[in-house]
């Protein structure tokens, strides 16, 4: 299985962390907190759409809500494929960070 891009990874992880509350705005808020800068809505949805196409996430349509102009929230949920992918990502991340000395990096 191919590795995901960084933005896909961040978005996927956010969905996992948000559990049942993962919809566009919540995901965006989470991602903004992690990365420390404002992601545009499009920047969230582009990886979301790719993840969906790779069937790593699936969508669940919520009830229509008045604040959203009467449209429903679309909730995202990590599929079993997605869980596998996350695990694999963690392995890779751990592997590449193993034995990395942080001390030298900070000075740069």
């Amino acid at each position: 299985m191919n590795l995901l891009s960084r933005s896909e990874e961040i978005v996927l992880l956010s969905i996992w962390k948000l559990k049942g509350e993962a919809y566009g705005i919540a995901i965006r808020k989470q991602v903004n907190e992690y990365t420390g800068y404002e992601w545009s809505i499009g920047a969230i949805y582009a990886p979301l759409h790719r993840l969906e196409k790779k069937s790593l996430v699936k969508t669940i349509k919520g009830d229509p809500i008045p604040e959203r102009g009467g449209s429903s929230k679309i909730y995202y949920e990590v599929t079993s494929e997605g869980k596998k992918a996350l695990l694999r990502l963690k392995e890779v991340n751990d592997a590449i960070w193993r034995n990395v000395r942080i001390s030298g990096l900070e000075k740069a």
Partner: protein
């Protein structure tokens, strides 16, 4: 996320509408709601303005990616269309070849005519002040009608400048027609020699290469010339300060003119043409004062430049009373001065006499445009015919596209795109063709057309636009037609369409009717030119060398030259006349005789042996005889038209008196007796009927020497004539022309038009036949099975060929029937402009009919025979 008494906020409608369309379908559901939520949140927590601002910013930010996205899909579709188009093009090579060839030829002709029209329309517009420049012309009202003239005399310009403040500048051009220019031994007769005011270089944009515009023509006896003239007379030497000798017309006035400037050669799109401009001051020193104050009808052309915002109408009104001062009441009933805008002069001068320089012919533009349009339309018709007849090859693709969701509009765009593609490919080939044929076209119609697409970007854009328009015109019907079928019918193969429909037949008839018209035109013009060339003019035009007399010394030494020339056995006769026999016009004179007073009559001055040298028949009496001492003084010859006009049966022996009436003064010229009656011969071109004319001996009025030479030994005779002239009158320029060639040249414009019409006819037939060939191939292919069955059932090859060709022969015959009366009407009108004209008999038309049928049969039968001789098994085995 907690909300304190959340209020419902809806984003601006327009912005939301836009966003809804912009956001990609895949994420629309979720994202749109998110945008709304954030909007409401911002509006609640901050304020409405910020929320709106944010929302609109989001719309604006999404726009670029939306456009890119759209383009991406369009490009994908476009790529698919292009691939399909090219595949089709390669798969159906004959079809592609026919269409591209037709469009290439059509576009090439059309672009050529476009360049021609652009050139003709650009006349005189290169002058910076062209909008303010006017030519002064006069409207002379006579008893017999109105005449417009451009020669308005030398006093005009200074008077206008003096009396009307809105006239800021003015130029006069005065011409003495032919004159001799010489420098050392180089002598040439020059026609494009004018005297002009120094302001010529201010008013007009004729740039000086050397010399100072303000001063070059200030002094008397100065001249400015073109670089070509400088090279002709001075070679590589610097011409400035050199002296040219000019002899005015036939007079003995000689002028030494100092070259003070060089101007750039006059471009071809200038109606004014000159090679020499001498200063007007020069004229003042050689002509009497009267010329500049009273002489209103000298060949002087006046151009004035008005103030920038001064309307010419106002000045024209003022000129009415101004003109009355000098109108000669004896001559005209009234005379008005008119102002002709410079930009109109080239095309709107056909009624203006006293003619000068070039006049455009709008008729030529119309006929060229018509010819080019015909060929282009033929190419479009081919495209329409072949595309619709080719339905069966495309129908599955169309059905599938429709099933897969293509709208009719998509298909129309696709097919239009294909026709535009064909047209653009045609354009590329057409541009190559034009590069090859432009010089030939230029020499045929005497223009300086050029096509430089690198320097002239706008031209390229125009040409591409033309090609696109042609592509759309050719493709619009087929695309509407092909996209009209219902997909279910297509895939079930229940669509009904007969390939050889009335529509195709009508288009074929249309093409061939016009092609037949063009053939008629070509043949009739060819016949007429031939007729004119071979007509018995009443004299022998062969082996006659013509030399114009350009110097009075040649006139003086004419008899000496004649005597010397006749010593050679190769010279059979030498004579002279005031006009070029066969081309020129007689002079005018008035006549009195028994029973006639003040009759206007033509007169031609000739030498003694004119009649014998030209081989003109004497009907009664005798010709001039040098032995009869009084012949030079008081003998006349007349032609048959003369005796008919006057109703004199026995014209020989009648006494007549010839005279002029000028300014109410009676000036007697000759009186004497008519000694001979000549059979009518065409001393003018065949545009004119033979007119009554009197022949008189007068060596002072000879303008042309005619030498009849031995046809077996032309080079020797020419060399001998040259030597004789060189020895006896070395200053005379040697210009040799054969009379028969000169007569032929008089019909040059007809000849050139004939050549162009021949090309157009050939091309139109080629394109029409290509179309017919393609159409029959397609239809024959569709009938392969039918023919196979016919052959199995015993039909012979001849029967099958006849079956396949007879429909088309019928169409050609119908085209002939339609085209004949139209062709007859047009060509009879055209022939009407000739007094002597060829016949327009049924024979010509039958010939044309047979010709077209043969061409069509050859075109059609190729495919028909191929199909007819094929093995029916091949046609039937696949089912």
């Amino acid at each position: 996320m907690k909300k304190k008494s959340p209020q419902s906020y809806y984003p601006p409608k327009l912005a939301r509408w836009l966003l809804e369309r912009i956001i990609s379908k895949d994420i629309r559901d979720g994202a749109l709601g998110d945008f709304d939520e954030i909007y409401a949140l911002t509006a609640n927590e901050r304020n409405l303005l910020q929320a709106r601002l944010w929302y609109w910013t989001q719309v604006a930010k999404s726009f670029p990616s939306f456009v890119l996205d759209l383009a991406y899909w369009k490009i994908l579709l476009f790529r698919n269309y292009s691939i399909i188009a090219f595949r089709n093009m390669l798969k159906h090579k004959i079809f592609s070849f026919i269409n591209i060839t037709g469009l290439t030829i059509g576009l090439a002709c059309f672009i050529l005519v476009f360049l021609f029209i652009r050139f003709e329309g650009s006349y005189d517009k290169f002058h910076e002040n062209y909008k303010q420049i006017y030519r002064v012309i006069k409207e002379c009202v006579y008893e017999r009608g109105i005449e417009y003239r451009a020669d308005t005399g030398a006093p005009m310009s200074p008077l206008l400048l003096e009396n009307f403040p809105e006239v800021v500048n003015a130029v006069r051009f005065t011409s003495f027609f032919e004159g001799l220019v010489s420098h050392n031994e180089k002598v040439f007769s020059e026609e494009r020699f004018y005297f002009a005011d120094p302001s010529v270089f201010d008013v007009f944009t004729f740039p000086l290469i050397k010399g100072i515009p303000e001063y070059s023509l200030n002094e008397p006896f100065t001249v400015v010339i073109t670089p070509e003239i400088a090279e002709k007379y001075f070679g590589d030497e610097d011409p400035i300060g050199k002296v040219l000798n000019y002899r005015i017309g036939f007079s003995d006035k000689k002028l030494d003119l100092k070259v003070t400037g060089i101007f750039k050669k006059i471009p071809k799109n200038s109606h004014i043409e000159f090679d020499f401009i001498a200063s007007y001051e020069t004229l003042k020193s050689i002509l009497s004062e009267r010329f500049f104050t009273d002489h209103w009808s000298s060949t002087t052309y006046n151009y004035i430049q008005l103030k920038e915002d001064s309307p010419s109408d106002d000045l024209e009104k003022k000129l009415t009373s101004f003109a009355e001062k000098f109108v000669d009441k004896e001559e005209y009933k009234s005379l008005n001065l008119k102002l002709q805008p410079l930009k109109d002069i080239y095309f709107k001068s056909w009624r203006i006499g006293g003619g000068i320089w070039k006049k455009g012919d709008i008729q030529t533009i119309y006929s060229f445009t018509a010819l080019a349009l015909f060929i282009l339309i033929f190419a479009c018709v081919n495209f329409i015919n072949l595309s619709t007849a080719r339905l069966t090859y495309r129908v599955k693709e169309i059905g599938l596209r429709k099933v897969l969701g293509a709208q009719r509009a998509n298909l129309i765009v696709q097919f239009l795109g294909e026709s535009i593609l064909y047209s653009l490919i045609g354009l590329i080939f057409a541009l190559f063709l034009i590069q090859i044929f432009l010089p030939r076209f230029n020499s045929l119609i005497n223009t300086e057309l050029s096509m430089n697409l690198i320097d002239d970007f706008s031209l390229l854009v125009i040409l591409i636009l033309i090609a696109v328009v042609v592509g759309i015109s050719a493709g619009i019907y087929p695309s509407l037609f092909l996209s009209s079928f219902h997909p279910v019918n297509i895939l079930k193969k229940t669509y009904s369409y007969i390939s050889s429909s009335i529509f195709h037949k009508a288009l074929v008839v249309f093409q061939f009717s016009i092609a037949i018209l063009l053939i008629t035109g070509s043949i009739v013009i060819y016949k007429q030119i031939n007729f004119v060339n071979n007509m018995d003019l009443g004299f022998n035009k062969k082996n006659l060398v013509t030399i114009p007399i350009q110097e009075s010394s040649a006139k003086d030494k004419y008899y000496l030259v004649k005597h010397e020339l006749l010593k050679s056995p190769n010279i059979l006769g030498v004579t002279a006349s005031s006009t070029i026999t066969g081309v020129g016009s007689p002079n005018a004179i008035q006549m009195k005789g028994p029973g006639v007073e003040n009759l206007n009559m033509g007169i031609i001055y000739v030498d003694y042996d004119y009649i014998e040298t030209f081989g003109i028949k004497v009907e009664a009496g005798r010709h001039f005889e040098s032995e009869a001492a009084t012949d030079a003084e008081n003998a006349f010859l007349v032609n048959q038209s003369f005796s008919k006009r006057l109703g004199w049966d026995d014209v020989v022996g009648k006494e007549i008196e010839l005279f002029y009436i000028m300014n109410n003064r009676f000036t007697p010229m000759y009186d004497g007796r008519i000694v001979g009656l000549l059979r009518d011969f065409n001393f003018r071109t065949l545009y004119d009927r033979v007119q009554p004319v009197i022949f008189k001996i007068d060596p002072n009025r000879f303008n042309h020497i005619f030498i009849r030479i031995n046809g077996d030994n032309i080079p020797d005779s020419i060399a001998f004539i040259k030597n004789t002239f060189k020895n006896l009158i070395p200053t005379h320029p040697l210009q040799f022309l054969f009379l028969d060639e000169m007569i032929e040249d008089a019909y040059q414009s007809e000849k050139n038009f004939g050549v162009i019409l021949n090309y157009a006819t050939f091309l139109s037939i080629l394109v029409a036949c290509l179309g017919l060939f393609g159409l029959t191939s397609l239809i024959t292919q569709q009938r392969t099975k039918e023919i196979g069955i016919r052959k199995v059932l015993g039909a012979s090859v001849e029967k099958v060929v006849l079956l396949l060709t007879k429909d088309y022969i019928k169409l050609i015959i119908i085209s002939n029937v339609i085209a004949w009366p139209v062709g007859y009407y047009f060509m009879r009108n055209w022939l009407q402009s000739f007094v002597y004209r060829t016949s327009l008999g049924l024979g010509t038309f039958i010939l044309i009919g047979l010709l077209t049928v043969v061409i069509a049969v050859l075109t059609v039968s190729f495919q028909a025979i191929k199909t007819a001789v094929s093995n029916p098994v091949d046609a039937l085995q696949y089912e």
